[in-house]
Chain length 448, copies 2
């Protein structure tokens, strides 16, 4: 990275809006009007922004915000531990996980999306981690919580939280993505912002005991017992089959995320972490592991989380989240206020390994450039990418295409539809395209 | 890591207490009485804990918490986005950053300590990041905030937050440690828990623009200008000199921590990130960078943050945080309830590079074993270590000793005192020792 551009462009973040079904079903032109109205409603705050002011080194900075000392430069501020558990600035109130009332009818059995457009790096702060509940969330007393391991084991056992947390533990950073992430986009462009297209995605440092150590502790028969069942303690009776190969590899029985105990919305006090596999298998409020000799064929894997194929058949047990990426800024709903330089940035991930490269196009896929990947690049974890871009004020279509360490390349939506059709809900890892219009508005479009 | 121990021990976390000067100045025996009283006050919750129960695989689990379905397994829980910005479980209320009223007289100009004894992995959640304020904290309006760069530059400039956040950015994980961390331990054992001995330490993923890119943007004279001054906007007028070598290496002008904007307590909207260097140089509310040809000799580096040497002279500009580690569990104030297996775990870090190894002793330094280091091992970042240990119920003294990638080895307190004396406040990187008594209480002792 050499000298900075002398004239960075400016980007107006879209006012966050509460997406309604009306907004979701707007045609593209209508949606752009909607965004424009939303922008006007925001009061044209862009007018207050200024380019860097150059001035003689010994001269007058000229900027009142530099020359006039504000109250906070002259007074005594708030004391320490005024908030024993800290919170974001009041100026960041707008950055929230949000639900889409049009998506599901019972909000308790629903989804809130992480605001990817406003996040940085790869870590998702716990307060903004996406939510997916099948029967609402609970704040379970850890002193009463138990994990039972049984089935094809020599000695079935019941563990308390205290038992588990005394064991040797491992901490690893992994992404978690709902299998239905980007699921609304199979047929057509459905939602305007990256929060709603890709926001069922988060990434944390998880801490727990490897499941294989617990299976070993119970004397599991890992030859006949080729599968384990994981069951959650909430009212949904969530049950998922995990391959024994995964269980013996990198699956964790986890109690912590990002250095502290799991949040209630994310399965406190215990959840399964199944790196690379869709979120539904990361069973929350984990209460039971059963070792068996065949898949358990539960409702949550035979009726739900199956892929509708073009021939009308459902594909089952497709749970690995394939290589995928998305540009988070500029992204749908944002507005480029000025021509000039922008840092095009986004995230890439693969359930099969590490990200090897990300290519970015600003012309709808005609030309591609290798993006700068940030480090560390970790297994089954988000990787942040960046590309310098100067917007000339014309139409532009921004796309990112990830390649993982197995050589898999993220497909276009067209290529994916040829195999999978348009009626699926799950496992859409297509390239995402954002159209920048000459008026600076960024919208969701589908290319290829 | 092979088979788990069949009989894990149990550990009673100490009730958190609000440390008063009385508690701080207790003699060791008195302090142990204090801890015992605190434990009794907690109501002996340990009695509710149970070892893993084994039962025939097809038999009766026997545990009412497994056999009787609780309310949360039968009902509908809380809806999504009930908390648009999420918070920890109510059962974790006790894990807080805490101030020590005895440490400083004006709490606004003081410290709150991170609860290291209850944290996992390497990431510190933002809500528990330690605080150090010199004039209290503010929640500054980012639209009004400016950064001026001037001095030995071709073109002085004033940047808005919007200008900065449009630039290419970098995200990196680094520890931040106050130079005064563990400072109370120079003379004698001073405080009973790891929260107070080592809790001015946190670790986050920081996002910002490299300072070198901004210096380049202003045409800084990096040959004559061997130093930069960093100034904060809060009432303390915090000013620190940074070597140009650091500025051109890995220093960031940062706006984000752990994926979201900085917290007000940690410098929102802009702070300097100076990897490996003591926290005071990570100037919060950063408003000004001046390039100069000599150290600026500000009050915060000539009067404060200097090292009192045995000969009565003060050593200045010793700002790198040397190789250091601490066992966070078992640690002072905790109580081992049973003999048996414990995962001895802690964190290690060095301002000079990566952690190469950590050795752990359970017998006061007679014998040492290499601990298991967790990955990724990153530059100027925390590294989590673990060691299997079976407590036989006798006296034990737990110690950890880190070695960094430059070959530096963490010194004993005795060796450090030979060079530095006992009257310092800053830059104590000595080995920490925890005494486990036959009654299970863990206390702070100094060995060597």
């Amino acid at each position: 990275m050499s000298r900075l551009p002398t004239r960075p462009g400016r980007l107006q973040k879209a006012p966050e809006f509460f997406l309604t079904r009306d907004a979701m079903t707007l045609s593209r032109d209508d949606r752009r009007s909607f965004l424009r109205r939303a922008f006007v409603a925001a009061g044209g705050a862009a007018g207050a922004l200024a380019l860097p002011k150059a001035f003689a080194a010994d001269g007058d900075a000229g900027d009142p915000a530099i020359l006039t000392l504000p109250a906070h430069s002259k007074g005594l501020g708030q004391p320490v531990a005024a908030r024993p558990y800290g919170l974001p600035s009041k100026h960041e109130d707008n950055l929230q996980r949000r639900e889409s009332p049009g998506l599901t009818r019972v909000s308790a059995a629903s989804v809130s999306f992480a605001p990817l457009q406003g996040l940085f790096g790869i870590i998702t702060p716990n307060g903004l981690h996406f939510e997916r509940h099948h029967q609402g969330w609970w704040d379970i007393d850890p002193a009463q919580h138990r994990l039972m391991i049984h089935g094809l084991v020599k000695e079935a056992k019941v563990y308390t939280m205290d038992d588990l947390m005394r064991m040797p533990s491992v901490s690893r950073m992994h992404f978690i993505e709902c299998g239905a992430n980007t699921g609304m986009e199979w047929g057509n462009v459905a939602v305007p912002t990256v929060q709603y297209t890709h926001g069922m995605l988060s990434c944390c440092e998880f801490t727990g005991v490897p499941l294989k150590w617990l299976l070993d502790d119970c004397g599991a028969d890992v030859k006949t017992g080729r599968y384990v069942l994981a069951e959650g303690a909430d009212g949904s009776g969530m049950t998922r089959t995990i391959n024994m190969a995964n269980a013996l590899d990198d699956v964790l029985v986890a109690w912590a995320m990002n250095g502290e105990m799991l949040r209630p919305e994310n399965g406190y006090p215990l959840r399964l972490v199944v790196p690379g596999v869709q979120g539904v298998s990361w069973v929350k409020y984990l209460r039971r592991i059963k070792v068996g000799d065949q898949p358990f064929a539960t409702k949550d894997e035979t009726v739900h989380y199956v892929d509708m194929m073009p021939d009308g058949q459902h594909r089952q047990y497709t749970s690995i989240q394939e290589v995928k990426s998305v540009i988070t800024s500029p992204s749908g709903g944002q507005i480029l206020v000025d021509r000039g330089f922008f840092n095009v940035t986004g995230i890439a991930w693969s359930g099969r390994g590490k990200i090897r490269r990300v290519d970015v196009s600003v012309d709808g896929g005609k030309n591609w450039k290798a993006a700068r990947l940030e480090t560390p690049i970790l297994d089954k974890c988000l990787t942040r990418f960046n590309l310098d871009w100067t917007w000339d004020g014309g139409d532009a279509i921004l796309m990112s295409r990830a390649t993982d360490s197995t050589g898999q390349v993220q497909p276009s939506i067209g290529a994916l539809r040829k195999v999978r059709g348009t009626r699926s809900i799950y496992h859409n890892n297509a390239i995402q395209s954002w159209l920048v219009s000459p008026n600076g508005e960024v919208g969701n479009v589908q290319i290829g």
